[in-house]
């Protein structure tokens, strides 16, 4: 009976695995990607709606991650198109030995089977911003003017602080003398400027905050910052697979100028409107496109997050149980091997989730795959360790009594040892489940969906409601899982060994 059930769950598991393996791509769907910040997401929405308008099936995998993840996904064919910035491309994919110009970039991309179709119509460059009132009082117009004011407090996003073409290069090229320079969260830098706690920060020229905080952008008089033209990238083979989709995508060229982009960013970040809505509004104004899909209601959205999250946790946990329990048994029976095994699985646990996710993308692509593997690996330790501990903790007299009765080793394990270890084993699975539910929110970083999606979107948009929309259900989910496991424990652990 119990064996039957075990086989049944194994069957369900393999079916789910197959489903997952298949869900990377479905048919002729055109796959649009976007990076993990508002502007990129809204541009992804624009591309999606243009393709949808041509009658081609299309999906937008939103906020997948950073440049590396998106570019690799494009090269590997997991997405067909996204909007990238030329400065980033030059910096990320051209070797230093190559000429750093547009022609070299186009040629290099063609080698990877990627077309650079042209500009969307705006640049999103780096610039330095300073509150208008302060700039007027000090008479600062260009970056060179900063040299005369060594006491200014500079606050930069951590990425800008570190990258060679960020602050270090800027300081050397202009010979800037400021000493009070610190790295902070980009969003916080704006707030510090607004509160008068800082004077200068780096800005992206399409940031809505420039207007909101009344900042003056300084002239880059030594031409230090590279140009960051927003350009459309798509896979060359899409021209063959779906010329209609390519034509639709190309309608985005020259579609949005800097002023429009700033307004769109403001609509989202300042007014808190959804990316899809903002994209649709502009396309309607410009092309009279009907909205492709009605906005998803909150209930439907929550249901989708819940299902995605439950799938991530359920499948990874089930697979972990199937693998970790035998490993725990092995570790208990072969003490020396067991020590090594536990140490190895312990090391797995120390790999940062983000690193693990990114490392697996080349092999498993984006989406649920890497998230499932990461969650599976993180679930192993508590289950292996508790199975091992439960078995090792059984008094020798009981094991001998089983032997003396004439039970075989297998029967002893099945009828005596595993049932005795059950409370400890279940506690391990419960721990794994609760950790897993929390960790699964990171899956949204690689497009696996789940409650992490509203959390990440909320952080991006500085929208607490959105963050809570993910955080609260996730916490409730963890509580529900805990409650469920306690019920299950009461049901399956005999009264004689209940704690």
């Amino acid at each position: 009976m119990i064996a039957c059930r075990a086989w049944a769950s194994l069957g369900v598991l393999s079916a789910l695995m197959l489903m997952l393996a298949g869900c990377g791509r479905t048919g002729d769907e055109v796959m649009i990607g976007s990076k993990r910040f508002t502007e990129s997401v809204v541009l992804g929405e624009v591309l999606k709606e243009l393709v949808a308008d041509s009658g081609t099936p299309v999906r937008h995998r939103r906020a997948l991650g950073g440049t590396r993840i998106l570019f690799n996904a494009l090269v590997n064919g997991e997405i067909d198109a996204y909007v990238e910035y030329t400065g980033t491309l030059t910096h990320e994919i051209l070797a230093r030995s190559e000429p750093q110009d547009a022609a070299a970039l186009v040629a290099r991309l063609a080698l990877d089977g990627i077309r650079l179709a042209g500009s969307i119509g705006f640049q999103n460059n780096f610039a330095l911003g300073i509150p208008e009132s302060r700039a007027a009082a000090l008479g600062i117009v260009s970056i060179s003017d900063l040299k005369a004011h060594p006491d200014l407090r500079l606050r930069f996003g951590s990425e800008f602080m570190d990258r060679a073409d960020g602050w270090p290069g800027l300081r050397d090229v202009y010979g800037l003398p400021q000493r009070d320079v610190r790295g902070v969260e980009h969003e916080l830098a704006y707030r510090a400027l607004g509160a008068g706690d800082a004077d200068v920060t780096e800005v992206y020229t399409t940031d809505a905050e420039i207007a909101a905080y009344d900042l003056r952008t300084l002239v880059d008089d030594l031409d230090y910052f590279p140009r960051y033209d927003a350009v459309l990238l798509y896979r060359a083979d899409l021209e063959r697979r779906s010329p209609v989709a390519v034509a639709a995508l190309r309608r985005s060229l020259g579609l949005i100028d800097a002023e429009r982009m700033i307004a769109m960013n403001a609509a989202m970040k300042i007014d808190g409107r959804a990316e899809a809505e903002v994209a649709t509004d502009w396309l309607r104004t410009r092309f009279d496109l009907a909205s492709a899909a009605p906005a998803e209601g909150r209930a439907a959205r929550l249901l989708r997050y819940t299902l995605e999250h439950a799938m991530l946790v359920g499948v990874s946990l089930l697979a972990a149980v199937v693998v970790a329990v035998p490993l725990g048994i092995l570790a208990a029976y072969r003490r020396r091997l067991g020590q090594g095994l536990l140490a190895l699985i312990g090391i797995l646990q120390t790999i940062p989730a983000l690193a693990l996710l990114v490392v697996m993308i080349p092999f498993l692509g984006i989406g649920a795959g890497p998230a499932l593997v990461a969650l599976f690996l993180y679930s192993l330790l508590p289950i292996v360790r508790n199975t091992h501990a439960g078995l090792v903790g059984i008094p020798a007299t009981l094991r001998e009594s089983a032997d003396a009765l004439g039970l075989s080793a297998g029967a002893r394990l099945w009828r005596i040892e595993l049932p005795l270890a059950l409370p400890t084993l279940l506690a391990g699975i419960k721990t794994a489940a609760v950790i897993n539910i929390g960790a699964a929110t990171l899956g949204a970083l690689v497009g696996a969906g789940g409650f992490g999606q509203p959390i990440l979107a909320g952080i991006r948009l500085d929208d607490t409601d959105l963050i809570l929309e993910g955080a609260i259900p996730s916490a409730l989910f963890a509580l529900a899982a805990q409650w469920l496991f306690e019920r299950a424990e009461r049901a399956v652990v005999p009264r004689g060994i209940r704690g």
Partner: protein, 247 residues
């Protein structure tokens, strides 16, 4: 039934059995007795194959206790230890019938056998659904005895079965064990450190010291013809607590 021939057993530097040769006769109750560490428990554990001899042979019903035959032979023996060794996750009923169920006995065969055992050991029938943690020490030993007897084994091995019980319960169970042994007529090997218990339950006493057998015989033999001064010392030590001895 059991035959030991020149059996040696060591634990590291300690010699537990130092060349023991002994025969246990079918249908008789033999009590192994001696001071702590004399090797009596080791001898019992060798009989059921929980230990293997370093040298010498142990045979059961003329068959050697080899790995291949061990499980089959163990099903022809019952084994009871001091604390019962009951499985805490199983009820008394499940403990007793575990092996029978594992071997695929039908309910129609299990039920009457269990009823016989409950009657034989005077176990309260309503206690069958309780877990070991919900039963008294004496009741647990009754369950352990029922479990050992469930498959109707030819031999019964008991290692200080009453050692952990308080004197009143112990006295009562000694009476019951004697009846059970008499009723069943099985080959019984009992380990105890209590001379009175050994004499009360055993047909034959085997007195051991430091891994060797000092003397084999009934209590009268030990008293009237002690093989060496140690026999007298041992008996005197035990009697000092029992001035009006049972004999």
């Amino acid at each position: 039934m059991f035959v030991l021939d020149q059996v040696f057993k060591r634990y590291g530097q300690t010699t537990a059995l130092d060349g023991v040769t002994l025969t246990f006769e079918r249908g008789r109750t033999t009590a192994l007795i001696g001071p702590s560490g004399c090797g009596k428990s080791t001898l019992l554990r060798l009989l059921i194959g929980l230990l293997t001899p370093d040298a010498g042979s142990v045979r059961f019903d003329a068959e050697s206790l080899a790995v291949a035959s061990l499980r089959r032979l163990r099903q022809r023996m019952g084994y009871v230890i001091q604390q019962g060794g009951l499985f805490p996750h199983l009820t008394a009923r499940q403990n007793v019938t575990l092996m029978a169920r594992h071997l695929g006995w039908s309910q129609a065969r299990i039920a009457p056998r269990l009823a016989d055992l409950v009657a034989l050991t005077h176990f309260p029938a309503d206690g069958l659904e309780r877990y070991p943690s919900e039963l008294s020490g004496g009741q647990n030993q009754r369950v352990a005895l029922m479990r050992a007897l469930m498959l109707d084994p030819e031999a019964l091995l008991l290692d200080e079965p009453l050692g952990a019980l308080d004197p009143m319960i112990r006295y009562e169970l000694q009476e019951e064990l004697k009846q059970v042994f008499a009723t069943l007529g099985k080959t019984v090997v009992l380990v105890t450190h209590d001379l009175a218990e050994a004499a009360f339950l055993g047909h034959t006493l085997v007195l051991m010291r430091a891994g060797r057998i000092v003397q084999v015989g009934c209590l009268a033999d030990l008293m009237t013809a002690p093989a060496e001064p140690f026999v007298e010392q041992f008996i005197r030590a035990q009697r000092s607590h029992l001035p009006e001895a049972v004999f």
